[in-house]
């Protein structure tokens, strides 16, 4: 892979961030009665993509961002009302820009993306509402219509890793491509029944995440923190000079003093460098609005997401690794936990489900709670499924307390059996959440109050061991 120009690298990194924020703002727009501030920020994001992208010669980015600006202008001027179809088209724009960016990130070029259909949809979106309404966006929750030639092997790998397809199916699909089938690998796998569409969508998303993490390999350092590091290094040098310069004829007491200073300074330096890696948890949250919105639209549910405790900090590498597990818990809560508006009404609940993501700090760990006010987990169904699939014996089950039974949802294999609650089709179960979190040295727990909701608790260390 050719080394990317440093300006392009900076552009890719800042634009990934800007697009993530933009997606979150667009979702917020759907429920914001006074959208001026959000629209202003969204407009500026596209404006920057257009200006900087255009200056770097990225014509498709420039053209698409410009078309998006026109839609936002129409929304800002009130010429077009904010409706789900309009934000849907704008979210498709974000997906397309992200896909192009992913390609730029790989080889510096925009890739073979045809902007025409999306440009047409964007143009239709800021015509009078009647026209816009016909253009109902069919939304695929994958941020990449990624350049498949580059993405294909990795996509297959991702699917095989999680047991979502067999490696010989990937080989077959690649052979089919080799024979001139122009379809993306994922599509071929789905068409041959070798993988589910949602598993492919999920793998694409993880792939984009991995790319973004790689692009986000740069860290901004607070000036004060840097000054502090420099000061520590200077003190270390002074102490070292005292030690090496004055060894001969130095009284033992002074020597011991310098050694203990050296000790303290070294510890302080290690500590200061460690704290540079600390980032606020809310860096995780920008993407969550979008996840919840997409799953809710897909499942015909109404959900409002709240996030709390965003200033709690943890090692940025841990936070990056938590994106996947947290996303899965949210999807799970919307899909399995929160009921349809009709069933909520029948249960005497408000039609809009509440989903809370809360970060707290306890005993040097970060506790991430995903709380929903849905139907909770039915212990009897879980127990029945575990018995049927042979995951536990009847004796074993009888010896388990209720909380033990509920924890069975984290067992691999039960996720397929969980179809009895609702068809998820995500292809990825809570067992993966458990594996991922435990790989970080964390733990998962679940609490439920049948009929009232559930709490999935992910406890993770603040620092990497």
């Amino acid at each position: 892979m050719p080394e990317l120009d440093e300006v392009v690298q900076a552009f890719v990194a800042e634009t990934y961030d800007a697009l993530e924020q933009l997606a979150s703002d667009l979702v917020a727009l759907e429920r914001e009665p006074a959208p001026g501030v959000l629209l202003g920020r969204a407009f500026r994001a596209l404006h920057t993509v257009k200006g900087t992208g255009g200056s770097l010669g990225y014509g498709a980015l420039e053209q698409l961002a410009h078309a998006g600006e026109s839609v936002l202008s129409a929304l800002r001027d009130g010429a077009v009302p904010v409706t789900q179809p309009v934000t849907g088209v704008l979210l498709r724009l974000v997906d397309a820009l992200t896909a192009i960016l992913t390609h730029i990130d790989t080889d510096g070029h925009e890739g073979p993306f045809d902007p025409a259909p999306l440009l047409a949809a964007l143009a239709a979106a800021h015509e009078p509402p009647a026209t816009a309404r016909r253009d109902v966006a069919v939304h695929v929750p994958s941020p990449t219509g990624a350049p498949e030639d580059v993405a294909a092997p990795a996509l297959g790998e991702l699917l095989v890793q999680r047991g979502q397809t067999a490696s010989h199916d990937v080989t077959l699909a690649m052979m089919v491509q080799g024979e001139g089938d122009a379809r993306p690998l994922g599509e071929i796998l789905v068409n041959h029944g070798a993988a589910t569409a949602s598993a492919v969508a999920d793998a694409l998303q993880r792939q984009a995440e991995a790319r973004r993490c790689a692009a986000a390999g740069t860290v901004r350092i607070d000036r004060e923190a840097l000054d502090h590091l420099a000061q520590l290094a200077e003190d270390l040098t002074t102490t070292r000079d005292q030690l090496t310069g004055g060894l001969a004829g130095t009284p033992g007491a002074q020597l011991a003093g310098a050694v203990s200073r050296l000790d303290a300074l070294t510890d302080a330096l290690v500590d200061a460098i460690g704290s540079l890696r600390q980032q606020p948890v809310d860096s995780l949250w920008t993407a969550l609005d979008r996840v919840v919105r997409d799953v809710a639209v897909e499942c015909g549910k109404q959900v409002r997401l709240h996030c709390e405790g965003g200033d709690v900090t943890a090692d940025g590498r841990i936070l990056d690794a938590m994106r996947g597990p947290l996303t899965h818990c949210l999807r799970n809560a919307v899909d399995h936990g929160i009921e349809s508006p009709g069933r909520r009404a029948a249960a005497g609940k408000p039609p809009v489900g509440m989903l809370l993501v809360r970060a707290t700090e306890a005993h040097g760990k970060v506790v991430l709670d995903v709380v929903d006010d849905g139907s909770g987990i039915d212990c009897e169904k879980v127990a029945g499924a575990a018995l049927r699939t042979g995951l536990v014996s009847a004796d074993h089950l009888a010896a388990m307390g209720e909380s033990g039974v509920v924890s069975l949802v984290f067992l691999p294999g039960l996720s397929t059996a969980a179809r009895l609650t609702r068809v998820s089709g995500r292809g990825v179960g809570l067992d993966v959440v458990k594996t991922d979190v435990e790989a970080l040295g964390g733990t998962v727990d679940v609490l439920t109050n049948p009929g009232r909701g559930a709490i999935f608790r992910l406890t993770i260390p603040r620092r990497l061991a």
Binding site: A10, T48, K50, G51, T52, S55
Partner: protein, 120 residues
Amino acid sequence: MRILVVDDSRAMRMIVIRTLRQAGFGDHSFLEAANGTEALQCCATETLDLVLSDWNMPEVSGLELLQRLRAGGNGVRFGFVTSESSDTTRAIAERAGAQFVIAKPFTTDTFIEVLGDVLV
């Protein structure tokens, strides 16, 4: 000479500085600010010969930056580098006390042409 480049896009600041170097102005020293507030701080503490600023930025926009500088009696040479380059924008910029407006996307030649007289 000391030149301050103001833009909320780090990539754009890099592009502007690279273009300045390519246009033969590499001997000058460059300072950067990521928004209007940072730029105001920089203008208060540094002696500058030129400010090149984006127009559309969060909180303190480029135009506000210029207006606040002039209101505070700071007459530093000031030019916009912006995609807001309509005639109206140019007129507003000049009335506020800007010396020039460079439209994005720009070329090395644009910089030579506009800055040739300013940066000798």
